[in-house]
């Protein structure tokens, strides 16, 4: 799982780097780390700065080990998931592809990994429950 994730995000990083040949950053580290007013910020490839103060000071994260930094728009989450019901046009027949399956109070939903790797997160409401499917 983790390996596959890494491959996918690396692919995203390569796409970004392809557009920015001059980028001084490396996907595996070397991102600017700004320490100011007791805060620790890390700047990604898009110039966005992330506050990682507690991650470093409290949870022991090493700022140098944050990788890729392709920005929050590189892998856009699903905000309005829609579903096919059985029998509906587009509902897949048998197939060996991988899915994440989720059951709640007898109701079941499936999310193909193929779709999830390009979004990483699907924000949805399942019955009365606000959930995030994350791969």
């Amino acid at each position: 799982m983790k390996f596959f994730k890494t491959i996918m995000i690396f692919a995203a990083a390569v796409m970004v780097f392809g557009c920015e040949q001059e980028s001084p950053n490396e996907p595996f580290g070397g991102f600017p780390i700004i320490r100011t007013d007791g805060k620790i910020l890390i700047e990604d490839q898009t110039g966005k700065r992330w506050d990682i103060t507690e991650a470093v000071n409290k949870y022991g994260f090493d700022p140098e080990k944050f990788q890729f930094g392709v920005g929050p728009n590189a892998i856009p989450p699903i905000m309005n998931p829609r579903f096919y019901n059985p029998g509906e046009t587009g509902y897949p027949g048998n197939g060996n592809f991988q899915v994440i399956g989720y059951e709640r109070n007898g109701e079941t939903r499936a999310y193909s990994l193929n779709k999830m790797v390009s979004h990483e997160v699907a924000n949805e409401v399942f019955q009365d429950q606000q959930i995030a499917v994350a791969y």
Partner: protein, 84 residues
């Protein structure tokens, strides 16, 4: 599968574009707090930002093959590939 509710606040999550130890670092759109699946712990932990130290509960899901899932759950819905 995680809850998007912490102490009554509903949030939405996305990929920050960072990974750490080959695991995606997530963030919430509302406060840009950073959420991470700490090794050995259930759920997501807010490791930095407004919600620091809070948790998002984890629910059990199954990683399997479509045919297997469909045969066990004949009524299952399927995420449309055109979902955005």
């Amino acid at each position: 599968m995680y809850s998007r509710v912490t102490f009554g606040d509903e949030i939405t999550l996305g990929a920050s574009g960072w990974t750490y130890n080959n695991t995606f670092v997530l963030y919430d759109h509302q406060t840009e707090s950073i959420w991470y699946h700490l090794s050995g712990e259930d759920g997501l932990t807010c490791i930095s930002g407004f919600y620091v130290d809070r948790k998002l509960a984890e629910f059990n899901s199954t990683l399997t093959r479509w045919s297997t899932w469909k045969n066990s759950n004949p009524g299952t819905k399927f995420l449309r590939p055109d979902s955005k």
